[in-house]
Amino acid sequence: MSAAADTLAPAALAFPSRAWFERLAALMNANRTRQEQLGYVDCIAQFTVLDGAPNGGPLAYRVSFEEFEALGVEEVATRELGSADFALEGSLAIWREMIESIAAGRGRPDLEHSLNRLSHMGTPLKLVYESPIRMDCYFRFNQSLQEFVNASAQFTTTFGR
């Protein structure tokens, strides 16, 4: 099996983990036709699980998007934004709820679990940013980011806790 195909193999992956986000990235990159329909995505988005680390602390994943691809995933044990344009942060429980909703909807969350639905009021997901100009990337690429996480329905996610 080639490395690329191996990346897309439907094995279960734990959330949160770098491998989980890398699978989403691989799925996005394997579906370039869809990305070309949606248009460029140029931002670094951070997904923060506030209690995702084994010690109950934060664990965050910075996904770099450029043009039609997800170029890389960085795992950091912090809530800090670093190079990210914005972060979506929430508890493991809410991320789990969202992922399970996407799986139940076969790639589409129910009305209560889209990224914007969860983050718009600042809870249960919170949109974190330093610059409103960079924060606007979350809105400018919202459909692409939604479809990025929607791809989690294509494999099984396990939750450690």
Binding site: S114, N116, F139, Q143
Partner: protein
């Protein structure tokens, strides 16, 4: 069967007078070109002469005074304005435009200047009344992220809602249908006042026009597919007029892109949040992406304007004076019952729960105003002490 009528048998139509309604305008147009007859008729005469002689000019093969020979190379995305602007002679925008016709920036045009017409409509001559550092990337992004309201929305999946929610959705869509195209008319008004040397800005404004046409289209379709359009509102109209009548491009762009579209972006995000069908969710999600580009241009255009102004203090004070009025007029729209109440009904989950919805709206209101003030701050325009929109929605204060 009757014989077909021959052209020479045609009789004047009964209301021939109606067809003379453009007589005055046509006469003025003819007069205008007669006035410049010496110039263009001479060009025409020379062209005819040359063609009659069977002779070629081939002056266009000469490259002196031009930038011939350096080929632009595409980047990973293809050939962008940024790529071609790297070639010397093509990417320099004048601080003040002095070409008032369509001669392309970077072309060999100087020898012909005296024989070219002046387009009187070009009145926005200062680059810093238009420019934003992100305008080229936003243009590329806008082209790449276009979508089609006819086929990219799964209209056949649209579910019927209970009447109170359907009416609230359709009223919200009526509001959006009413307001969206001012964001098309405003850039259109300034587009044709902008000289060709600012082609990057003109290109971006054109995408905004297309975006707004699509938004007007998608909300009109959503309303009519769900029951129908409901109420227009005077408060919306005054806000739209204030945008359209803004005295300068930067002032209008502040009012439209930064404040107005910033608030509409919040409405779209709220619309996605409170949508009762997947179809509605996708409509709002698609629209908020477009709207965020316009907001982004508005913020950086104002930042560039104030940041480059020779008399920044006076320019800032002038903008404040404009914003003092603009905010109040926009507030007139955003307090209309035809907007606030349907949002509250959707937020609450039905007409019975409108009070609960108003509580949610009060929370969102604070967020809207905070984001507006943050955007002003990012543009170097601190409105925090002077903002005339209340940070708290004054709901039930008098009760």
């Amino acid at each position: 069967m009757n014989e077909p009528t021959r052209p020479d048998q045609l009789k004047p139509l009964p209301h021939a007078q109606e067809y003379l309604m453009n007589e005055e305008q046509l006469a003025r147009y003819e007069g205008m070109f007669r006035k410049d007859y010496q110039t263009w008729a001479q060009i025409l005469g020379e062209n005819v002469e040359r063609i009659k002689r069977g002779s070629y000019s081939l002056h266009w093969t000469k490259t002196e005074g031009g930038h011939w020979g350096k080929r632009a190379k595409p980047s990973s995305r293809g050939l962008t304005y940024t790529d071609i602007n790297r070639i010397r002679g093509y990417g320099e925008l004048p601080e003040r435009a002095d070409w008032f016709n369509f001669a392309p920036r970077g072309s060999i045009r100087e020898p012909y200047r005296d024989r070219m017409p002046i387009v009187d409509a070009y009145t926005v001559l200062e680059r810093d009344e238009l420019w934003a550092e992100n305008v080229i990337s936003l243009y590329e992004e806008a082209k790449a992220r276009q979508w089609n309201a006819t086929k990219d929305i799964a209209w056949d999946e649209l579910e019927a809602l209970p009447e109170d929610l359907e009416k609230a959705t359709c009223q919200l869509c009526t509001f959006l249908t009413e307001v969206e195209f001012v964001a098309g008319d405003f850039p259109a008004k300034w587009l044709c006042r902008t000289p060709q040397d600012f082609l990057e800005v003109k290109s971006f404004l054109t995408t905004q026009l297309m975006d707004e046409a699509r938004h007007q289209e998608v909300f009109r379709k959503r309303a009519i597919a769900g029951g129908g359009l409901l109420h227009a509102s005077p408060g919306f109209e005054w806000a739209l007029k204030a945008i359209l009548d803004a005295p300068t491009h930067t002032m209008g762009t502040f009012l439209l892109n930064l404040l107005g579209e910033g608030l509409v972006l919040s409405v779209f995000r709220s619309g996605e949040m409170i949508a009762k069908t997947q179809v509605d969710k996708e409509i709002f999600r698609r629209c908020l992406q477009d709207e965020a580009r316009h907001v982004s241009y508005g913020v950086l255009e104002l930042k560039n304007y104030l940041g480059t102004h020779k008399n920044r203090e006076a320019a800032t004070e002038e903008m404040h004076r404009f914003a003092d009025v603009g905010e109040q007029v926009i507030l007139t729209a955003f307090t209309e019952a035809a907007l606030v109440e349907p949002v509250a009904v959707l937020l609450g989950g039905g007409l019975k729960h409108i009070d609960k919805g108003m509580e949610g709206l009060a929370h969102m209101w604070r967020m809207f105003i905070d984001e507006y003030l943050q955007r002003c701050q990012a543009a170097g325009f601190d409105r925090s002490a002077r903002c005339t929109i209340p940070r708290e929605l004054p709901w039930g204060v008098a009760a």
